[in-house]
Symmetry: C2
Subunit: 144 residues, 2 copies
DNA sequence: GATGGGGCTTCCAGCGACCGGAAGGTCAAG
DNA sequence: CTTGACCTTCCGGTCGCTGGAAGCCCCATC
């Protein structure tokens, strides 16, 4: 299989697949003409990666998952731990976004949104004193 | 005010503030010794940006918001439109994460997580046939 | 046999939004 | 006069790709 074929079967762009080779994730042998010659196993791994990426796993997580997958003597606990850690990260991101969403939606509701210049959204961003209450935390907690 | 002062008052790292100058967001005048000499107005803008970033606005959004903020003849509708677009993006991200979360949490629950090698998480990622149902969509819909 | 078009190759550059570190200038206190 | 905290610039790296240029390769058609 050439790269175009595995791109089709995995749903990944060819560029991405080359990148995965570059970083040592899936390294196919080469045909005599220099083309990448993907074996079934390689195509399978690429589909595996595509699914893991679809669940938001990082490339390094994918590397770990792949090596667990290849290791028939693995412990499922190792996989589960990885997945749970990732789940916690997802939860943290959702929570962060929900907080943003909450503040922003209040601001959007408060803004009349017509041709006049006065705007509670800008007032809040500017930290105005006549804003009813401080909605946005100081940027000091922007850690990651 | 030197950069350290505005870093403190805005909560942004000095590195970030220099970066904002580099991309033309907030450009302070320079003192005779070459140090950046922030005026109150600059410090104010940096706090504004810090808050907007805290709400997840992109740098380009911040640039637009700043110019609206500086424009006393702006229409609040323009600000509201920007904010609503951003809100929709946040909603889309939340939804995407919630879908990931849903699939992943089912998998984590299904995995016994002990020393044995059999693992529904890996089975699902591999696209195994003995998985009860396909939980993960093909990577073809990984568009952005 | 030439030609054309698609696929493949490599390499280089850039995205967003910074962060880390090196090498060096400046300033106030002791 | 030295120390140490601050400031400066510049360069490289992060993550996960993506775009584009320049150049092979292969097959079909004329």
């Amino acid at each position: 299989m050439n790269i175009g074929d595995v791109a089709t079967t995995s749903g990944l762009p060819a560029k991405t697949i080359r990148y995965y080779e570059e970083i040592g994730l899936v390294i196919p042998p080469r045909a005599a003409n220099g083309y990448r010659a993907y074996r079934d196993r390689d195509a399978h791994m690429l589909r595996f990666i595509a699914r893991a990426r679809g669940l938001g796993f990082s490339i390094e997580d994918c590397r770990a998952l792949l090596s667990l997958y290849e290791d028939s003597a693995r412990a499922s606990a190792d996989v589960k731990r990885l997945a749970r850690t990732h789940l916690a990260e997802i939860d943290a991101k959702i929570e962060e976004l929900r907080e943003m969403r909450s503040v922003l939606s209040h601001l959007v509701e408060a803004c009349h949104g017509d041709a006049r210049p006065d705007c509670p959204i800008l007032d809040e961003l500017a930290g105005s004193k006549n804003s009813p209450k401080r909605l946005i935390s100081s940027a000091a907690d922007q850690r990651n």
